[in-house]
């Protein structure tokens, strides 16, 4: 009975597209409407960058701390790992008992996770996660 409602048909993505279009229309309509309805006054001081009422010093396009870059790199390591693990996770518990594939699948994935853990330990040891 419940298998009738299973999903592998492409037509199930159509309502998703409708939802996306509706959300886009909501966003655009709000921006356009408020631009039309609201008042518009311009001024020299009004246009300056807000820095707590002080005259702005320099520009905001400047160098920033390299730690943010390291966080991004470490994130890539783990995020790619997790994405690779999703197909494994969804079929792992339904492997056939007598196929003998369970130890192979488990072993390969443990090795895969182990490589990430080594990288994580290296990053920890190098002080990536210390924010002092």
């Amino acid at each position: 009975m419940l298998t009738l409602a299973t999903a592998s048909e492409f037509s199930h993505y159509v309502p998703l597209a409708v939802l996306l279009v509706m959300a886009l229309i909501f966003g655009v309509a709000n921006l356009v409407l408020t631009h039309v309805i609201g008042p518009s006054r311009k001024g020299k001081v009004k246009g300056t960058t807000y820095e707590s009422g002080v005259n702005p010093i320099g520009t905001a396009r400047r160098r920033f701390n390299v730690r943010f870059y390291i966080v991004a790199m470490t994130f890539l390591l783990f995020d790619v790992e997790i994405v690779f693990l999703y197909p494994w996770a969804s079929v792992f518990s339904s492997l056939a008992e007598d196929s003998g594939l369970t130890p192979v699948f488990l072993g390969r994935c443990l090795f895969f996770i182990l490589t990430s853990i080594i990288a994580f330990a290296y990053a920890w040891r190098k002080g990536v996660f210390r924010y002092d």
């Binding site: 409602a5 999903a7 037509s11 159509v14 939802l19 631009h35 783990f78 996770a89 210390r130």
Partner: protein
């Protein structure tokens, strides 16, 4: 003409989008009410639906007109674009924030399975009868869609912060990016563990596996995982105690400092939509979705009354989670940025990896009563955390004095 599933999905799109927008507006009101109750005040209770117009009848309605009045006010404000911003990015950034927030809930199974009777108007068959999941998209990637769309939310924040050409906005955008990226990993791993346990990524099957009274719910068997997911969800939605991206004392408004009128409102709306969506996914993954507590023989599929009951149960659980998030905001003070990053990288990620390894081994061994094993692993990991946690070597103290160089208040420059 339409199949039952497509028709039901269209129905859900139409209703749920409006309900979510309304829920977001009224969760702002709920937030203000809860804040006032926590602080021993009364909160907004004056604005009815007359908006101060003398020709409309005066009712206060316990202040329920407040969200509408707020929205109207934001519409009537000036939509100002400062001259030194990056104009194109500045305008599309709020949309990049609000669109993912409004489509992320597409895979939530609101009301179980509907034995749809079909719809015929004037002899023309509009929808065929059949079994349908009460959701927007019953797609087989399921919960993966939530992660994919949730990652897109970073763009709105970081592009808005960069385009504003303001130091506060830039720092806020950077912080928000680092925070959202870091907390996405424990979020992804905890979802991975659930997929591993149930062997499916489809949201309706995840709920169906839990729908056996309260003893089927994941929060009973994996409490530590639920805490990890909830914490990461709070950080993903930029909520206190993790709202470092917009903390008023340090960064004025964070990434939306230069925004006004409806552009600001779209950011605001996106934040609350993230809370509502996060509550829905917590309900779905850990609180058993539409399953009624202490009632075991719940039918999986049925007619319209059962579907409405299921939607009611789901919405009630979501409401409890949203209220909890708001109470947390007014109870727990804000973290410091280094504490925030250390919580993610030195605590949540290793713990979630340990739970993932344990779950993989348990599933591979095909142990009987895997739920009890998982509960044991959770409890043991928690005890291990309490024991080992204080013994992990700490870095040097961070509260040291930083010399003020180059500032006009600095003693170096005055001499």
């Amino acid at each position: 003409m339409f199949s039952a599933q497509v028709f039901v999905s269209m129905l859900v799109v139409t209703i749920a989008l409006h309900v979510i927008l309304g829920a977001v507006a009224y969760s702002v009101m709920l937030e203000r009410k809860i804040a006032s109750w926590v602080q021993n005040r009364i909160g907004p209770n004056r604005t009815g639906f007359d908006f101060g117009q003398p020709f409309l009848p005066k009712f206060h309605f316990w202040g329920l007109g407040q969200p509408l009045a707020d929205g109207l006010k934001l519409f009537l404000k000036e939509d100002y674009t400062p001259p030194n911003v990056d104009k194109v990015l500045f305008i599309i950034a709020p949309m990049l924030a609000v669109v993912p927030a409004l489509i992320a809930w597409a895979v939530i199974p609101w009301g179980g399975y509907w034995d749809f009777p079909g719809l015929t108007v004037f002899g023309t068959e509009i929808a065929q009868p059949g079994m349908a999941v009460v959701t927007v998209a019953p797609i087989n990637i399921g919960i993966l869609y939530f992660l994919a769309v949730g990652s897109l939310a970073v763009y709105g924040v970081v592009i808005g912060g960069y385009a504003s050409n303001n130091k506060y906005s830039f720092l806020g955008g950077l912080r928000a990016t680092a925070q959202m990226l870091s907390y996405e990993i424990p979020l992804g791993v905890s979802i991975l563990i659930i997929i591993l346990m149930f062997g499916t990524a489809r949201t309706d099957l995840i709920v169906l596996n839990q729908a056996q009274g309260i003893l089927g719910w994941n929060i009973v068997w994996m409490p530590l995982l639920a805490v990890i997911f909830f914490t990461s969800q709070l950080a993903e939605a930029n909520r206190t105690p993790f709202d470092l991206a917009e903390c008023e004392q340090e960064l004025v408004g964070g990434f939306h400092t230069e925004y006004s009128s409806m552009k600001f409102a779209l950011y605001f709306l996106a934040e609350y939509a993230h809370i509502v969506t996060g509550a829905a996914f917590f309900t779905l993954l850990f609180l058993g979705g539409w399953s009624i507590p202490f009632y075991v023989g719940q039918a999986a599929a049925g007619g319209l009354p059962l579907v409405l009951l299921n939607v009611g149960v789901f919405a009630f659980k979501m409401f409890l989670i949203v209220a909890l998030v708001m109470v947390i905001r007014w109870t727990i003070p804000r973290f410091r940025f280094d504490q925030l990053m250390q919580l993610a990288w030195r605590c949540l990620i290793p713990v979630s990896l340990i739970l993932l390894l344990a779950a993989a081994v348990l599933v591979a061994l095909k142990v009987p009563a895997i739920h009890w094993w998982m509960l044991g692993v959770n409890v043991l990991t928690f005890i291990g955390l309490v024991v080992i946690g204080p013994k992990v070597p700490k870095g040097p103290p961070v509260n040291r004095k930083i010399p003020l160089e180059g500032s006009r208040f600095s003693p170096l420059t005055t001499s």
